[in-house]
Point group: C2
Chain length 350, copies 2
Amino acid sequence: MKAKSFAAPSADKPLEYYEFDRREPTPDDVELEVQYCGVCHSDIHTARGDWGEVEYPCVPGHEIIGIVTRVGSNVTKFKVGDRVGVGCMVNSCGTCDACKRGFENSCFEETIWTYSSKDPVDGTDTKGGYSTLMVVPEHFVVSIPESLDSAHAAPLLCAGITTFSPLSHWKIGPGMKVGIIGLGGLGHMGVKYAVAMGAEVWVITSSPEKKAAAESYGAKGVIVSSSEEDMAHAANSFDFLLNTIPKAHDLSPYIKLLNIHGVLCIVGAIEPMPGFHSGDVIHGQRSVAGSGIGGMKETEEMLAYSAEHHILPEIEVINIQDINNAWESLMEKNMAKRYVIDMKKSFPTE
Amino acid sequence: MKAKSFAAPSADKPLEYYEFDRREPTPDDVELEVQYCGVCHSDIHTARGDWGEVEYPCVPGHEIIGIVTRVGSNVTKFKVGDRVGVGCMVNSCGTCDACKRGFENSCFEETIWTYSSKDPVDGTDTKGGYSTLMVVPEHFVVSIPESLDSAHAAPLLCAGITTFSPLSHWKIGPGMKVGIIGLGGLGHMGVKYAVAMGAEVWVITSSPEKKAAAESYGAKGVIVSSSEEDMAHAANSFDFLLNTIPKAHDLSPYIKLLNIHGVLCIVGAIEPMPGFHSGDVIHGQRSVAGSGIGGMKETEEMLAYSAEHHILPEIEVINIQDINNAWESLMEKNMAKRYVIDMKKSFPTE
């Protein structure tokens, strides 16, 4: 089946219209018509080659909501017409300890990402959700709870799970003080989840003008990272810091904000980080951790939690023809919202 | 009271005999005659100025067992003749959250170390246990369980608590796979505790000849850190790594040994560490943590645990007159044992 899409033709050129064939579903595959696809910073990083060489044309997009159009003969969880989601990964070995424990995102062999990975099923390069059609193994497709609006649900598949998983793993709850570093697409979701979990939440940001937004999501206020006074005042006080800064940076000033046994978890920057003095973590038995999306089981838990607690991202719906402008504005400022592509509106049925 | 001792006269000279006055005990102080003092790598680091400028003469030593000779009027826990221990710290603010929760070692104001700290009681530079006499606030003195031999108990006050605290905090137990990186004074204690706690324990070392020693302490075997084959075979398998390497080093090869949710805890190197790729911790939701000695409450727990499980360090008893040779051999090789100074034998009563 022909998939209409937008793709990066190279690392340095704007995305452009592109058409290609999706494979025929295998017995284990689900085919879906894409309704909405969120726009993630990773899309830009990958397409521009920041994370290593990729094959072009590169079709990004891994926050996907769609309607099932066909299912393979072995598929039992979904039927034609179901509303489903696809996130950042579309395959993994399935047999290692990580996969068996439900952490396909940390497969010890290789996680197959939704775009720009080598697909073990047909040997092609995977292509993402900036596209009208997806074909994905059943195991990597999730049901979307009925109460969640489709456009708003799309970013849950990456921004949602990336923030929910660590907050859930480190058992954020009442009595804890949580800092969300950065108030962009990830950060604003982090605030909403941590608030829902019952923690006292602060946003740590270089942009004091984000105070109103932070508070509107339930944060107590902001700590301005460039203010020595703010940072000194907040020293040794946080039980958990969710670090959504999307590029390498000095962790030391943030580690010093942690209370005894505090954990700083990196979810934004995926690159070599500058070193820190081990005394920063030795003091207070602190930890620097990392977390990336989550496993399929956690993703289902996140969707159920989001539906139950009415947690949805702030979004701005765009047509895919506006994607290059959206990328530009995303790079200019880490916005506290997600662009979501309306695929049906972008490609009205002839 | 005059204290006979050995002190470093400067950063680059051998230790030499030195005599000084200990203060009269305040109402809150305990005075003790030092029987034994362990020799720790930190003694060398501090005296040589590796961790910052210190005042000379510097009297090291923070693994101290002694007999109470006088107590202040407010002292209730100890009486003359009691056998007691003093570890790495002799004071803290006592009022911050860390102190109130029993983590005086991470006091948010300032932990006063046993040597080369500014003593808030009398304004002098603190002087350690390479000495016949100590005067220490009651709160920083611990009882030594009767079944523990004095010479063997001395290193528990630093090497013991430094390894026990993180293993206890991260709940090491049956079903867990634990790696002890480095088999020196800290490492061999780490092996013994982790084995007693029921974990499957491996030693990760650059010295394959340490296999027999490692196994004699209860380890399953060694993983040779310079062997690509050994390291690849052990990838993604450890729940906890206790990193006792005493100087800065690349953490990446070790982080890659961690299983999902695995924690690598630095207890050896206290200095700026090289950075690592955040992907190493993002993969598997892993953590890089740190830990340094432990609070007074944990120290008491460690002593009780060591007595109950018969966990004692390997030691070689020396006279203080041999201290410079001991330091030399300690620096040449990270030995799987502790030198312990017999202070009474070093300075026989006239």
